[in-house]
């Protein structure tokens, strides 16, 4: 795909594509990124193929510096091991790399996220009699604690964006300013929540998530309706730059669409 005329039009981008491209753009070249499977993996691999060729991807299976040629379905695909700078035991990836503070960006998903960016991936409803039992913590609590910063990718709805998570699996900004420091969490926590509607960022003073950008065609009102708390909107609300044709083309080659 080299001829410009074969690139897809930005107008054809769907909401998930805008979300993924926006997430990819948040990853600076040369930085390290702890990558989970699904949207984070897609976004990181997109970044590596566009503006961040030296993005250093770490998967929790122990592959350091993986550069898969196709999107892995799982965090332990053979392609990851074959293309990695190094494959280390799981103990080392968590202790020597994550806990030691060597990862710049952690990417997390969420089943629920609250006003302060705390995340639930354990259970919806009562823990002992859950409405929905979710997979659980995995690497997330320590990714949220120890990465330099965290980016959350999650589709926005009132069921997902809740006033208070039913279970705090991974700490965002706790109950507000100073909580991360009090808990001894070394990273900055969630600095950006990227959804299919826009981008939320913590208010520097209150640590509450604020809508700072909406994707093309999305209104602040729609984002507020998709949020289970009274979502504040930044006075200088931006519109997310639309995906570029090349970004869309690479993304679709990764996901097999188009």
């Amino acid at each position: 795909m080299t001829a410009t005329e074969s690139l897809p039009s930005p107008a054809t981008a769907d909401a998930d594509e805008v979300m993924t491209v926006t997430a990819a753009r948040a990853l600076a070249d040369g930085t390290s990124c702890f990558v989970g499977i699904g949207l984070p993996s897609t976004a990181a691999n997109l970044a590596r193929r566009t503006h961040a060729p030296r993005l250093w991807m770490v998967y929790e299976s122990g592959t350091l510096g993986a550069s898969p040629s196709t999107l892995p379905l799982s965090i332990g695909d053979g392609e990851l091991a074959e293309t990695a700078d190094s494959v280390v035991p799981v103990t080392e990836v968590f202790n020597y790399w994550l806990q030691a503070g060597r990862i710049d960006t952690g990417f997390l998903g969420a089943a629920q996220i609250d006003r302060f960016g705390n995340i639930n991936t354990t259970a919806i409803g009562d823990y002992d009699a859950p409405a929905v039992r979710l997979p659980g913590a995995g690497g997330a609590p320590e990714i949220a604690a120890s990465c330099g910063r965290v980016i959350v990718i999650v589709r926005q709805s009132p069921r997902t964006f809740v006033e208070r998570v039913d279970f705090t699996t991974s700490v965002g900004h706790g109950g507000g300013p100073g909580d991360r420091e009090r808990l001894g969490l070394r990273g900055a926590g969630p600095v950006r929540v990227i959804t299919d509607l826009g981008v939320l960022e913590p208010d520097p003073a209150t640590r509450e998530l604020v809508l700072t950008s909406v994707h093309p065609g999305i209104t602040a009102e729609r984002a507020r309706e998709a949020t289970g708390w009274d979502l504040a909107v930044a006075p200088d609300l931006a519109t997310t730059p639309a995906p570029e044709p090349r970004e869309l083309a690479v993304l679709r080659s990764l996901t097999g669409r188009g």
């Binding site: 035991p89 799981v90 994550l98 354990t122 823990y127 609590p141």
Partner: protein, 286 residues
């Protein structure tokens, strides 16, 4: 000691045991799990960082009393429906949970392998896991005064892993993503390793982990024994099988029919276990 799979499971895995079947997406001992189901083991405490479809099957088959884990899902697909049904509805029996994070579980195995009673990590602070999981406690650094998390060692009765090769003396060789398998084997009282093949000599391979025979109780040759997961250098992951499991496992009847046909049934594909001598199989699954 090289044993057929059914004999090895019969000798090493007992009702009520704490069993760790490890594998981080790669080299998952699926066929050994099926053999545990066939032999009707009950009241097991199943331990694993990433319980996936093989634990879903064992839970659905009623083998488990408790699950010690950090992430219970169908990797890349979604939920484990038998796990959910057991947690939510107690079917076929209630399942007690002990939840940790990956970092906590990995360090628990490492402490177990090292003969320590506990491990220390920066973890869990501020999460609701602390209140839910009694095996997380605070500990203070005697030098800096910092508070960290302590978790107790995991020392399973038996660890079961799959590897690429073993030699005739029972030394085991695995490579690719090797996860926490070494620690699980070293932490356990007994260890069963299913392998793709038994060879005369273990030719060194980059990235290999070698488990000396003295920490391996039994080796069972089970070619294809990790399917539908993969064995680096032997076969690739069958992603479609993981996706297909979602539909099969959503429904109790469909799951039970699948179990009868694929695990208890006579059929079976490349993952069918090696037959035991003297028809012992029938006796054990009766």
């Amino acid at each position: 000691m090289i044993l057929p799979l059914d004999r090895a499971v019969a000798e090493l895995v007992r009702d009520g045991d704490t069993v760790a079947m490890e594998g981080f997406t790669h080299l998952i001992p699926v066929e050994a799990g099926h053999e545990v189901i066939r032999q009707g083991r009950r009241d097991l405490t199943l331990v694993r960082m990433t319980p996936d479809i093989v634990y879903d099957r064992m839970i659905g088959a009623g083998c488990a009393r408790k699950l010690v884990f950090s992430w219970g899902g169908n990797p890349g697909v979604g939920s484990l429906h038998r796990f959910r049904d057991a947690v939510g509805n107690g079917w076929p029996r209630p399942l007690e949970l002990e939840e940790h994070s990956h970092a906590g579980m990995a360090n628990r195995y490492a402490a177990g392998a090292a003969g320590l009673p506990f491990a220390v990590l920066r973890g869990y602070a501020g999460t609701d896991l602390v209140g839910r999981t009694p095996t997380i406690k605070p500990i203070t650094c005697p030098f800096t005064g910092e508070e960290l998390a302590a978790v107790p060692a995991l020392n399973p009765d038996v660890a079961i892993v799959h590897a690429q090769r073993a030699d005739r003396a029972g030394n085991v060789q695995m490579w690719g993503i090797t996860g926490v398998q070494k620690e699980a084997v070293l932490a356990a009282d007994r260890a069963l390793v299913t392998v793709e093949e038994v060879v005369d000599e273990l030719e060194p391979v980059p990235g290999q982990v070698v488990l000396p025979s003295r920490v391996v109780t039994a080796v069972s040759p089970v070619p294809g024994g990790a399917r539908p997961s993969y064995a680096h250098g032997y076969y690739v992951r069958d992603n479609d099988a993981y996706r297909a499991w979602d539909a099969v496992s959503r429904d109790r009847d469909r799951f039970t029919a699948w179990l009868d046909a694929e695990v208890f049934g006579a059929g079976g594909g490349p993952g069918t276990p090696v037959a035991a001598p003297g028809g012992e199989r029938e006796e054990q699954t009766a």
